[in-house]
């Protein structure tokens, strides 16, 4: 830390130069020789005097007198001394018996006597001349810098024109004193009655003027210094009187001026305690960083905060720092800083801020609490009503509003419901208010105003008491019982339904088990019955055939004449027997086929065979009937028919049946057998087309049913069992084929057997 440069004002302002000069009246008894230009007796350096006297004589003596004057001037700095010496010299050397020197002290408006010779002190009195007295000829002489002669007055008018001087009516000369070039003379030399004027007077005036000028200038300097010191002292007094620290620092941050308050913060002598000194060091550091040119530039003259340490007690001090850069052409720029102690202000402000912040937080908390409460209340689905001690509603949530407030555009019914609700609730609350109970639970039969349906609610009310035990509010929560009742109801229904269902399931399960058992038994029985039936049919057919075989055999033998010739009438009757026997045989065979197919006991014997040969066989087998019918049977067989892979005997049986049918129901025209392959779906079709009576569309499906012959009358025109087509269709299905029919009544029928060429495995 730099040693702060304290500039105390000089102690005591000297008034020496400013005080009126003590008048020194020349009291030398020695009278100069009244010789004009003659050498005057004089003191001085004996060596000089000896040399001058010895060598030059009188002239030299006079020269020595001049030197003496000059020497005297050199050793004198006081203006009065100087003036006295000069006037003494004037009297001694030049023989001027009376002379007065007036000078205008620096920046004063009065000419005062600084030296006199040959003038009695009493007459000098308080001789002063005011410079402002323009009428005074002395002032004119001063300002006009001219030598003036005032002769002795001859009249009163003359006297009035003369200035008042210690010379009174004696004639005198006035000569201005001062530096050449100045506007005004510094003073006046009054020389009394020495006509004619000594020739050396101009030289003297010049030298004396110079000396006076020199002294005056010195005095002016000293005076300036003194005034500055006084002013500075005043300034220090002023700034010391300011309680805020004030500082002037140079551009390097060195402290130039500091007031008393600042000194306590920023200076500490070696005798101070270490704590105090370190506090001062800290403060200086803080200050210089705050006052760094950069910081000032940034902040400009703005107020900044500066935190310092109180060296006395170590407490924190907050200052507001106001710095201003001052430009001085002579001393360069500096920084004036004023520190305002705002510690208390700051503390108060902080306190206010803190209080405000606390208040805001408290307010926010209160609001949040309130919001949350509202939110909670509103988010509760159950209606909540808060009533005051008087029973008036003070708060209700939205579900409650729906029950107890009449909405806009409410119908009259709705309004009535709301009023009814209100009445019910009010009576509940009234009961609560008069009772001593803290809590009350009850049922209220409200109505949902919107739906108009009964809404039984469970009301749970609780009293809220103040800390003094006074009732402040009643909070009531209404719980809609509808849902619970509905749920209970539904649950009961569900339970009943469930029980019912369970009973039914159990019954059904038992039933199903029973039926399954029954079915199983039936299946077994059916299988057994089926097997028995098949066996029975097989046996029956055997038993039928055996006698039929004998009947047909013997009939045939009779017809062949094995037992001798037969009468033609008897032969006709035998033929009837044979015909009926054959029919009976066919019936038996076909019944057997049906039963075998149904019992699944019709085995297939798959082989590959050629169609043309099969067709020829079929035709050959029916040759007797063909001949008898006198119909033309033609065959159209595709070339390159593939081998058919199927059960040859079954295919043959089908074709025999179809062809014999065609022959049976055709009276004119003919029958055409067509064999054709279809490469597209790999099938082979065998068609038997006749030009017979035809089948009506309604009957075309029925012809394939069991025992179905279109003419069902006992005296039907056509023979046959009615089982033929039924068997054919079943056989075709067994062979993965089908039989289709196209027919027009009166035009004929076409039966088509379609079989896969590959057949089944």
């Amino acid at each position: 830390m730099r040693k702060s440069l304290l500039k105390t004002p000089p102690s005591g302002l000297s008034s020496r130069l400013l005080a009126p000069p003590a008048l020194v009246v020349g009291a030398r008894a020695r009278k100069p020789a009244p010789r004009r230009n003659g050498p005057a007796a004089y003191g001085g350096d004996p060596r000089v005097r000896v040399a001058v006297e010895g060598a030059i004589g009188e002239e030299a003596e006079f020269l020595a007198a001049r030197v003496r004057l000059l020497e005297g001037f050199v050793s004198r700095t006081d203006i009065t001394d100087c003036a006295q010496l000069a006037l003494q010299w004037l009297g001694d050397v030049l023989g001027v018996r009376q002379s007065i020197c007036l000078l205008r002290p620096h920046s004063e408006q009065t000419l005062v006597v600084v030296g006199a010779y040959g003038v009695p002190g009493s007459s000098l009195g308080r001789f002063t001349v005011s410079v402002d007295d323009w009428a005074n000829p002395l002032v004119t002489a001063l300002t006009h810098r001219k030598q003036t002669f005032f002769p002795s007055p001859h009249s009163a008018a003359d006297r009035r024109r003369r200035p008042t001087t210690p010379f009174e009516d004696a004639a005198f000369h006035v000569m201005p004193l001062g530096v050449s070039g100045a506007d005004e003379s510094s003073g006046l030399l009054l020389v009394g009655d020495s006509e004619p004027l000594p020739s050396d007077l101009p030289w003297f005036t010049s030298i004396f003027s110079q000396k006076l000028d020199q002294i005056l200038r010195q005095q002016a300097l000293v005076e300036g210094d003194r005034r500055q010191g006084r002013e500075r002292s005043l300034l220090y007094n002023i700034i010391n009187a300011v309680t805020d620290p004030i500082l002037l620092t140079d551009t390097e941050g060195r402290l130039l001026i500091a007031n008393a308050r600042a000194l306590t913060l920023f200076t500490a002598s070696e005798e101070e305690s270490e704590g105090r000194r370190s506090a001062v060091r800290m403060n200086n550091m803080l200050l210089s960083s705050a006052l760094s040119s950069k910081a000032i530039e940034e902040a400009g003259a703005a107020r900044r905060e500066l935190l310092l340490v109180n060296p006395v007690d170590g407490s924190d001090l907050v200052f507001e720092l106001l710095s201003t850069v001052t430009e001085d052409p002579r001393q360069g720029s500096g920084v004036v800083s004023i520190l305002r102690n705002v510690t208390d202000l700051r503390r108060a402000s902080e306190e206010i801020e803190e209080n405000y912040r606390k208040m805001r937080i408290a307010e926010a908390q209160a609001r949040a609490e309130s919001d949350r409460l509202n939110l909670i209340i509103d988010s509760v689905a159950d209606p909540i009503v808060v009533t005051d001690a008087g029973g008036a509603t003070s708060l209700m949530n939205e579900p409650a509003e729906r029950l107890f407030t009449i909405p806009l555009h409410a119908s009259s019914i709705e309004q009535r419901w709301v009023q009814a609700n209100d009445a019910h609730f009010s009576s509940f609350i009234a009961g609560m208010l008069v009772s001593a109970d803290q809590r009350r639970v009850g049922e209220i039969g409200l109505v949902d105003p919107k739906a108009g349906e009964a809404m039984p609610v469970e009301a749970i009310a609780g009293k809220i008491l103040s800390e003094h035990g006074e009732l402040t509010a009643v909070v009531t929560i209404l719980h809609d019982r509808r849902e619970a009742l509905e749920k209970a109801h539904l649950y009961e229904q569900l339970k009943q339904a469930s029980d019912e269902l369970e009973r039914k399931v159990q019954a059904a399960t038992a039933d199903i088990a029973q039926q399954n058992e029954l079915l199983r038994r039936q299946a077994i029985e059916l299988e057994q019955a089926s097997a028995l039936k098949t066996q029975f049919l097989a046996n029956m057919s055997h038993e039928f055939r055996t006698p039929l075989n004998a009947m047909l055999g013997y009939t045939s033998m009779l017809l062949q004449g094995v037992a001798g010739p037969v009468e033609p009438s008897a032969k006709r009757q035998l033929l009837r027997i044979e015909s009926n026997g054959r029919h009976l045989l066919t019936i038996i065979n076909e019944i057997l086929d049906i039963s075998r197919i149904e019992a699944g006991r019709m085995p297939l014997q798959i082989s590959k065979f050629r169609i043309p040969e099969l067709l020829a066989e079929v035709k050959a087998e029916l040759e007797p009937i063909i001949l008898r019918s006198k119909l033309a049977v033609t065959m159209q067989i595709d070339r390159e028919l593939p081998l058919l892979s199927s059960d040859r005997q079954k295919v043959k049986q089908i074709l025999l049946n179809l062809l014999s049918n065609a022959l049976k129901f055709t009276h004119h025209g003919g029958v055409t057998i067509v064999a054709r392959r279809s490469a597209r779906d790999r099938t082979l079709s065998l068609q038997v087309a006749d030009t017979g009576i035809g089948i009506a569309p309604a009957d075309q499906e029925r012809v394939f049913e069991d025992f179905r012959q279109l003419d069902n009358s006992p005296t039907r025109a056509y023979g046959g069992t009615g089982l033929g087509l039924s068997i054919c269709r079943r056989l075709a299905q067994m062979l993965d084929g089908r039989i289709t029919l196209e027919s027009t009544v009166g035009k004929g029928s076409t039966f088509t057997l379609t079989l896969p060429t590959r057949g089944r495995r």
């Binding site: 055997h542 055996t546 045939s556 094995v562």
Partner: protein, 145 residues
């Protein structure tokens, strides 16, 4: 047949008298020498003793059924070469298969008119004499094609 009587001898085995006698009468009428048997045992005995050219065998027989009798006939070298034609009123599947397995050479379903039976017998006898070692069972061969 060459060394025997010019009439081919047929052993007719059937327990049903009407049928047996009917066929017998017609066969004789048609020029066959007929030997009758009413059961399998008799058939075996007659076959050995009378050496028929062909045997017509009903399958459902008392004492010994036709299948067993046929098996025995075919097992006996004295009778093995005699064609046996199964003759039955049973039309159920399996009957003809069983007959074939038992060794029958042909199978004829009753009812069968006497003249049809004679045609069948003549055809078999012709086949047998023509190519005795070649086609022993023409009817099966034809049926199974």
């Amino acid at each position: 047949m060459t060394a025997k009587s010019p009439k081919p001898r047929v052993l007719l085995v059937d327990d049903y008298p009407d049928a047996r006698e009917m066929y017998s009468e017609y066969l004789q009428f048609s020029g066959f020498d007929v030997v009758e048997a009413t059961n399998g045992m008799e058939a075996l005995q007659s076959a050995v003793e009378r050496k028929p050219d062909i045997i017509l065998m009903d399958l459902s027989l008392p004492v010994m059924d036709g299948w067993e009798a046929t098996r025995r006939l075919k097992a006996d070298e004295r009778t093995a070469s005699i064609p046996v034609v199964a003759l039955t009123g049973h039309a159920l599947a399996g009957i003809s298969e069983g007959a074939k397995r038992a060794g029958c050479d042909a199978f004829v379903t009753k009812p069968c008119l006497p003249e049809d039976l004679v045609k069948e017998i003549r055809k078999i006898l012709d086949d047998t004499t023509g190519a005795r070692k070649g086609r022993r069972s023409g009817k099966y061969a034809k049926n199974t094609n």
